[in-house]
């Protein structure tokens, strides 16, 4: 089994509503000097073969219209 980690992020230029909400709450909670907060998803799984992981991302885990993804094979 291979351990696979997929990082999925909102595409550059698309408003990340959650990230923005966190960013705008920061000063009120006493955190200064933090910016460019982006929030995405992380999907971790174990796969018998990593062959179709790209397809899995394209079809299911990410929506290429709005999201970028990055696949990390952690160990084979």
């Amino acid at each position: 089994m291979s351990k696979v980690r997929v990082l999925i992020r909102p595409k550059e230029g698309i408003l990340d509503a959650q990230g923005k909400a966190v960013e705008s709450a920061l000063p009120g909670l006493g955190f200064e000097g933090i910016e460019k907060v982006r929030i995405g998803r992380i999907v971790e799984l174990e796969a018998e073969s990593t062959e179709r992981v790209g397809e899995l991302c394209e079809k299911l885990l990410a929506n290429p219209l709005i999201e970028d993804y990055e696949i990390e094979i952690i160990d084979d």
Binding site: L15, A17, A21, R41, K59, L60, L61, N63, I66
Partner: protein
């Protein structure tokens, strides 16, 4: 002559949609029934509604899992042959994920679920679903969703606008979710597939709200009557 409402695990508004189809079909001799998401034969249907709700819990991404349901493959064929398809809320999300409609629906700008009666402006759109409305007409239909922010990249957006695929916009000042160009609903280029975030099936009874939604459900029925 039958209308089908697809039911996925986690669908919520499927009975409401069924009820709206039945009300719209009243007196036409048509019927409506639920279609289990594993059914693949949509041959006998005149129109299909993909209802609202939280199919598969909206996990991962709204509509991401449901679009793989066996019924969705048949639905793509049904749509390709010109069959009228309506996606409401989660159904809209599913149709976008399935590539039957352009664009995508992101989490609301305010990050919260929001449920409110609101006004829509009807677009100038060539679609059987809009045959009961005048372009520019203002109608009252409730919306309720967590991920209703319509988005399309600039080039796609321009295409949708130019081709007259914008079926509904939120009335000025009423955009609840940050949708680009106030878009609340779009059609495919052919016009037979419509998706919208607001809930016309919750606007079919004066007792529970407005009745503007009923005209939407009657739209393709009228068109079919003309055709047959």
């Amino acid at each position: 002559m039958v209308w089908g409402v697809i039911q996925f695990p986690g669908s919520c508004d499927e009975r409401d949609a069924l009820n709206a189809c039945q009300l719209a079909a009243d007196g036409t001799g048509r019927e409506a029934r639920l279609v289990w998401h594993e059914e693949t034969d949509l041959g006998g249907f005149d129109g299909i509604v993909v209802p609202g709700g939280f199919s598969y819990g909206d996990y991962l991404r709204a509509g991401a899992i449901a679009r793989f349901a066996p019924a969705m493959k048949s639905l793509a064929d049904f749509a390709a042959q010109g069959g009228p398809v309506l996606g409401i809320c989660n159904g809209f999300q599913v149709l976008c994920e399935a590539g039957l409609l352009p664009g995508s629906l992101l989490p609301n700008e305010g990050t919260r679920f929001i449920c409110r009666q609101g006004d829509l402006e009807v677009g100038d759109c060539d679609s059987p679903w809009l045959s009961g409305f005048r372009p520019g007409e203002r109608i009252s239909i409730p919306f309720k969703h967590q991920s209703g922010r319509f988005f399309a990249p600039d080039d796609l957006l321009a295409e949708i606008e130019e081709a007259g695929q914008v079926a509904f916009r939120y009335a000025p000042g009423e955009n609840p979710n940050g949708s680009v160009n106030d878009i609340a609903g779009v059609t495919n280029p052919e016009g037979n597939v419509l998706g919208l975030m607001p809930h016309p099936e919750h606007a079919v009874d004066p007792l529970t709200g407005s009745t503007d939604g009923l005209r939407l459900f009657r739209g393709p029925m009228g068109a079919l009557d003309v055709a047959t």
